[in-house]
């Protein structure tokens, strides 16, 4: 009856691993991926210009991730290799988001069960189709579970709270400025201040583009977009930035135990 020294039940091990990974992922800020009229929009608060959370994988496929930078970066590179080698072996149209999501799910699941430490990442693989009905958004968690999301997905940080705020504003077929506005108000805590253009990483998979659908929005283009996004909601936004409400010192969600892990990407 006596247990060997240092024994932990498999359930306990899995629970501990999952909790460890969840903590790491909740430390950063959320990333929003959502459909809009012409494709799929990615929005991530990210002060770094070089360390991206959002990336192009292939002609129609985009990638977004939260968590440890080095871990999701190696997943991103593997995804690019997978897509390029498949597109080169067969044809460019034969690379699918579903295939990529399965590859990631296998790898994440294998690491979750086999390694001491699960990957502290949560990722989204999104594929833009010829019509809005053909768009696909897959969300993958650290244990390899795949979720086929409808219309929008939020990963990392206080994901549930952000998703709740996004649901209130989200509707099908939003134009790009309105979609960006919805994403930003979801990413901003009530009473908080919206991150400026320099603190944002924004990209779209635009089905109207030729060849490669992925387009990063930055610089003047993003600023113009932010202006037109803010314009219709000027009135509710104005009092928040005024002196009446106590200024929110921290725009991001509360940070769990002192965050010395998430160095590169999360701000």
């Amino acid at each position: 009856m006596s247990m060997p020294f240092g024994y932990a039940s498999p359930e306990q091990i899995m629970r501990d691993r999952a909790e460890y990974a969840r903590k790491g992922i909740a430390r950063g800020r959320s990333v929003v991926v959502m459909q809009y009229a012409d494709g799929i929009l990615f929005v991530a608060p990210n002060p770094s210009k070089a360390l991206h959370k959002i990336s192009e994988i292939y002609d129609r496929i985009g990638f977004a991730a939260v968590g440890r930078y080095n871990e999701f970066e190696s997943l991103r590179l593997a995804g690019i290799r997978y897509a390029d080698i498949n597109g080169y072996t067969f044809n460019r149209t034969d690379v699918t988001g579903r295939g990529l999501a399965n590859l990631y799910a296998q790898q994440l699941g294998m690491i979750f069960t086999d390694s001491i430490k699960a990957l502290e990442v949560e990722i989204v693989v999104a594929e833009v189709g010829d019509t809005a009905q053909d768009d696909q958004i897959f969300r993958l968690t650290f244990d390899g579970s795949v979720f086929d999301e409808q219309g929008m997905a939020v990963i990392g940080g206080q994901a549930e709270a952000v998703a709740g705020r996004l649901k209130e504003r989200y509707s099908e077929g939003l134009e790009l400025p309105q979609a960006l506005d919805a994403a930003l108000s979801a990413l901003t805590e009530p009473g908080g201040e919206r991150p400026p253009a320099g603190q944002l990483e924004v990209a779209v998979l635009d089905r109207g583009r030729e060849h490669r659908k992925f387009l990063r929005l930055a610089g003047p283009r993003l600023e113009r977009l932010l202006e037109s996004a803010a314009a219709p909601t000027e009135t509710p936004a104005a009092p928040e930035s005024g002196e009446g409400a106590p200024p929110a010192p921290e725009t991001g969600p509360p940070i769990a135990p002192d965050g010395d892990i998430d160095t590169g990407s999360a701000g």
Binding site: S74, L75, A78, R81, D84, I85, Y88, L103
Partner: protein, 278 residues
């Protein structure tokens, strides 16, 4: 997992350079366009060959044009072949020689440039692109010796220099940077001679397109393997213009208008425009 190809295992562990070709060579060498086996007998004459490509720099960019004919020995194997390929937003390549290998090289080159751009988050420099193409051509040297020669011409808009640049190659690789204009393929001697007289430094893209089409016409005039404009089938040369706005392949209607004006002038003057003697 057992049914997966071997390269699947390398997707996550490969930490080499950002070159797609190197990844392919290490993990799936059978997919490379260049082959290690040698042939029992040279087959060069029996395999379709792509012929003449011309390129010339213009104001703010570069123009590339290629005829549409592919030949196998004395046979015309295709009338509407495409041999000018978009490589990325700011570059393109044309091929002369063995068509099948050339098409594969063009396809791999496109993935190579894109792969680097996606993994590194920036585009390769123009020289970097030219060097990568040289390595691919060098890899085909053994087959070139067996008759499967393929030689590309690479043209790019260089954002750093804000001008067009042209690089040529031989079977052993390269690159050799060419200034102003260059041509490759069986009709290249005639095309280059014509282009030498028609090329104007700093001319507009439209004028340079016309100069390239004139030189292709002259090549088709004297070289049996180069196809002239096919008026009955409305098959015109492929013309690409690359400027700061990116790569643009001229639509057939637009090229058709250039060709019509060219043909009308040649009705009265079959040898085409003449350059001033003094």
């Amino acid at each position: 997992m057992a049914s997966q190809p071997a390269w699947m295992n390398s997707l996550f562990t490969h930490t080499g350079s950002s070159s797609f070709t190197e990844f392919l060579g290490a993990h799936a060498p059978n997919l490379l366009p260049t082959r290690a086996e040698t042939l029992a007998a040279p087959v060069g004459d029996q395999i379709p060959h792509a012929t003449t490509i011309v390129a010339a720099t213009c104001a703010g960019g570069v123009v590339m044009a290629g005829d549409r004919r592919a030949t196998s020995g004395n046979m015309i194997s295709q009338r509407d072949m495409e041999k000018v390929f978009r490589a990325d937003d700011y570059s393109c390549m044309g091929i002369a020689g063995t068509a099948s290998t050339g098409i594969e090289v063009a396809r791999l080159f496109r993935v190579e440039l894109e792969h680097y751009e996606k993994t590194e988050g920036r585009s390769l420099s123009t020289e970097g692109k030219a060097h990568r193409l040289a390595t691919m051509i060098r890899g085909n040297l053994a087959m070139a010796m067996q008759g499967l020669v393929v030689v590309p011409l690479f043209a790019a808009y260089d954002p750093a220099a804000d001008s067009g640049r042209i690089f040529s190659y031989d079977v052993g690789g390269g690159p050799y940077e060419q200034h102003d204009f260059h041509s490759i393929g069986s009709g290249s001697i005639f095309a280059r001679g014509a282009l030498k007289k028609l090329y104007r430094p700093g001319a507009s893209p439209q004028d340079t397109v016309l100069a390239c089409l004139q030189s292709l016409y002259d090549a088709a005039d004297d070289d049996s393997a180069t196809g002239g404009p096919d008026v009955t089938r409305k098959i015109w040369p492929v013309v690409a213009v690359i400027t700061a706005d990116g790569f643009r392949r001229l639509p057939d209607e637009e090229v058709g208008e250039f060709v019509q004006s060219l043909l009308e002038a040649r009705m009265t003057d079959p040898d085409g425009p003449t350059a001033p003697l003094r």
